[in-house]
Every structure is written in structure tokens, then in C-alpha cells.
Amino acid sequence: MNQGTQPYVALDRVAKVYPSPRGDVEALADIDLEIAPGSFVSVVGPSGCGKSTLMKCLAGLVPITSGTIDINGRSLEGPPGAMGIVFQRDVLLDWRTILDNVLLQAELRRLPRADYRERAMQLLARFGLEGFEDRHPWELSGGMRQRAAICRALLCDPELLLMDEPFGALDAMTRDDLNVELTRIWQGTNKTVLFITHSIVESVYLADRVVMMSRGPGRIVEVIDIDLPRPRPLSIRETPAFGAYVHQIRHHFAELGILKE
């Protein structure tokens, strides 16, 4: 998709080495990846494959050792401005209400809170958090807290949304709900999403492209285009086409000795 246009994210021979007293640790090696603007890409792999490091490098939080990262045609130096980020833990601030937690995004960017209040309320309503604006995070369930964290990431209308296993700590049903909500809200926006997960099913359900990573050192082993119609109901996961993608990825991981078949 979007062939011929410039990629929104382009990684060229990116490597990341963490020096350590017991020898250097190669977290990422020879990463080449292009992400088209407005596409949803998920990265799937076993723990320790460097997928979180990849995201931190893309976010400009961790400097890369070699190679280049271009975002929207510009070389990455520090966190890009039009980026939102969601972590596995919601990292909501306990002393702020849900609304104030969402508005933190504007405050940290030194933007006037008043200008974003309306948008924050709309975002919260779209994620089913209407009426919870004045509650504190500890009064909410894990799923609601993570929804608020996504609203916080989306507040300043980022072009790029980075999500590091955002639903990894949630129960299976809440996770399904959030998968549906996330794709519903993403569709029709022009946001580029990079979604890290260790669930093969989740990666296929959400994405236009699935990037498979392997460890020792962290590298990309395969990129698979997911040609499934959108919007995708949850029941799409029971279709043969969906099953074939999941099987293909699982089989590939098995060949690499990462999964047992």
C-alpha cells in the first residue's frame, strides 16, 4: 500500500549495542524497515528480541549505535515532535484526575491546557470514559487506565503512534475490547502506528504488516503483509485466511527454533 510515496519511518542498517562489563550486548543488528504513512505495523517476537529497544530507538529515547533512522524524511535527533507513546504500564500519575492525566501531554509540550480540554473530553468519550474525567487512576480498572493512557498519547494529534505491548498486562477479554476500539479509532485517521506485541494473533488482527523479530542479536527475520479487509470484526480471527497468517508466522518461528510445533 501507499507505494511510490515516501515512507513515514525508514530504518537503514540500524544497530544498537549496549556496552556491559561482561562484553557488549547486541540488542539490535542490521535493522532495515520502511513504514508507509498511515499504515499499522505490528512487531512480534519472543522476549529479548529487542522489540522494545527498537521502539525506544524510534522514539528518540535511546541513541542508536550505527545506521540511520528517518522520520517523515528527516533524520531522527531526539524524540520527534508529532509522536505519541503508550507503554505496557499505563504510567498514569496517581495524584492527577483522568482528565488532568490526559492533559499532561499538552502541559509537557508547553501548550495551553485550555486549548486541549475539549479534545481531551472528546477522546475520553470515544474510549468510553465519559463520566470518569474527574476520577483518579486508582479508582479505575486496568483496561480503563490503559484507555486513558491511549487518550493521553493521542491528545496532541500525533502523526506517529508508538505502542509497546500496551495490552500485555490486561486480561484476554479486555484485550479483545481494546483491539477492536484501537482499530476503530485508528481507521479514518492518517496515523502511522507501530505496535509491539508478543501475541501473534494480536499482531495479525491489528496490522497491515507484521514484522517478525528474532533474538541473539535482535533482528528482523520476515515482514508479512496482512491482506484482510477492514473493518475487522473479532470473528475474523476464526476465518481460514486469518488462521493461515497465524500459522505462517508460528511455523516460521518454529523453524527458527523459537516456538515448538
Binding site: L61, F87, R89, L93, W95, H136, E139, G143
Partner: protein, 267 residues
């Protein structure tokens, strides 16, 4: 009489503590009446109260002096402690030097330095404040440094990803996150500041409850010693609960303050 009934039948920690205290005072009073120990050894509570009532303004004046010393020393300790903690957390060099030194010094019996402060600062309020600050500073710095450090790294990453400045991260994330630790340190520090003030008054000067205790002891006036001790106890308790109250007001969000209403919401 329903108010009384509620007070006597319901669950109240204050009531239980007061009842135990009243019982102890009663046992003390009756014990002294029954066994009649020498006054110089143990006066009954009634005599202690009577002694206070003979010259209440004198006791209150000295109590005011000790209270003022304690509050000044506490305020200085909090201001200095927070500044030091922030500096320690943000500077590798200061962390390796000052913090290491502070932790090592913490095990030194600092009250032994009180006479030295008298030589340096005279017999006024200054040496007393100095001793009190010496004692109160440690718990504040140690707890605040811990609080400032124990921030979820992803919380800081989130702020950095939004291109926040170091000052913003401190003001909006690290410092509020450290407030519960700061309060824990301040609760210890307020008692230490009072101890420091008393020790300072023991060593030199002509004011404060510590001075009164020392003079009364020299005259073998045990009843007066007890009056001062009771006032000290009341003051220490009041100061601690004042901080506890401030903590409740300022940190309603903290785990230790959440009531039953703060339970998890389903969904």
C-alpha cells in the same frame, strides 16, 4: 446522650487511646496514694497538675521557646533537605560525595556535637537550632532522595518523548511522586528536631523546657521535672499529628490515605 453512647460503643482509635491513657494515670495516682513513695521519687499526677497551675505562664513561656526553636529548625531542615535531595538526585558527583558522607555521618551520635555548637554559636537560640537541624536533616534527605529516585522509568520516558524539560520532569513528575516519602521523612524529622532543641537547652542557655528540666533536677524538684516532661510529650504528639493532618490534606491520592471508596472499579 446518643453522642456519648456513640463515643463509647462505636469504633474509635482516639477513644481507645484516651481510655488506656486515663487508666494508666488512674493506676499511677492510686499507686502513689497507696504505697506513698517519697515525693522526690514519684509525685502523683494530681500534684503534677497542681504544680503546673501554680505558675502556668512560666511553663507556657518556656514551652513557647522550645516550640519556636523546634519549628524554626524543622523549617530549615525541610528547605535545606529538599534542596540537597534534588541536588543529590541530579548530580552524580554530589551523590557520590555528599550523599555518601551524609549516610556515613548518620551513624555518628550527633548530640555529642552540641557542646561544640555552644562554643561556635554562643548560648542563644542558634546552637539549639543547629543541633536540631543536624538531627532532623538526615531523615528528610534520605527519604526524599529515595522518593525522587523511585519513579517509574517509563514515566520519565513519557515526559522525554513529549520533549519535556528536566525542570518540568522534576516539577510535574519526580517531586509529586516523592511527596509521600518526604512526609514520611518529615514525620521522623519533627520528633528529631524537638529532641535536638531539648539537647541544645540542656547544654547551655536559660530558656526552654529542657532548661526547666535541668534546673528542677538540680533542685530535686521532681514534680517540676514531670510538668516539663508532660508538656514535652503533649507538644511532640501535637506536632506529629499536625503533620499527619497536613499529609491527609495534601496527599488524598496516596495509597496510605485511600478510604474504602478507593476500591477498584469494575469494567
Amino acid at each position: 446522650m446518643t453522642g456519648w453512647r456513640k463515643f463509647l460503643m462505636g469504633e474509635s482509635r482516639t477513644r481507645d487511646v484516651l481510655l488506656v491513657l486515663a487508666a494508666l494515670v488512674a493506676i499511677w495516682e492510686l499507686g502513689v496514694w497507696h504505697y506513698e513513695p517519697p515525693r522526690i521519687f514519684l509525685p502523683p499526677p494530681s500534684a503534677i497538675l497542681a504544680e503546673f497551675l501554680t505558675t502556668p505562664e512560666l511553663f507556657i513561656r518556656h514551652m513557647g521557646y522550645t516550640l519556636w526553636t523546634t519549628l524554626l529548625a524543622f523549617t530549615i531542615s525541610v528547605a535545606l533537605g529538599i534542596t540537597l535531595s534534588v541536588a543529590i538526585v541530579y548530580s552524580r558527583l554530589l551523590e557520590r560525595t555528599i550523599y555518601t558522607l551524609l549516610v556515613a555521618l548518620n551513624s555518628v551520635p550527633k548530640v555529642a556535637l552540641a557542646p561544640l555548637f555552644v562554643i561556635w554559636l554562643g548560648t542563644g537560640m542558634e546552637p539549639k537550632i543547629a543541633v536540631a537541624v543536624m538531627l532532623a536533616l538526615f531523615p528528610i534527605v534520605i527519604d526524599t532522595v529515595l522518593g525522587l529516585r523511585s519513579v517509574d522509568p517509563d514515566m520519565v520516558n513519557l515526559a522525554r518523548a513529549a520533549r519535556a524539560s528536566q525542570l518540568q520532569i522534576l516539577a510535574k513528575i519526580r517531586f509529586p511522586n516523592a511527596l509521600p516519602s518526604l512526609f514520611a521523612g518529615m514525620k521522623v524529622a519533627i520528633s528529631f528536631a524537638l529532641v535536638g532543641a531539648i539537647v541544645g537547652e540542656f547544654v547551655a542557655g536559660g530558656n526552654g523546657l529542657g532548661f526547666l528540666v535541668l534546673v528542677a533536677q538540680g533542685q530535686f524538684d521532681t514534680t517540676r521535672v514531670f510538668v516539663s516532661l508532660v508538656l514535652l510529650g503533649l507538644m511532640g504528639t501535637a506536632l506529629f499529628y499536625a503533620l499527619d493532618f497536613a499529609e491527609r490534606l495534601m496527599l488524598p491520592w496516596h495509597v496510605s490515605q485511600r478510604g474504602e471508596g478507593g476500591s477498584q472499579h469494575g469494567g
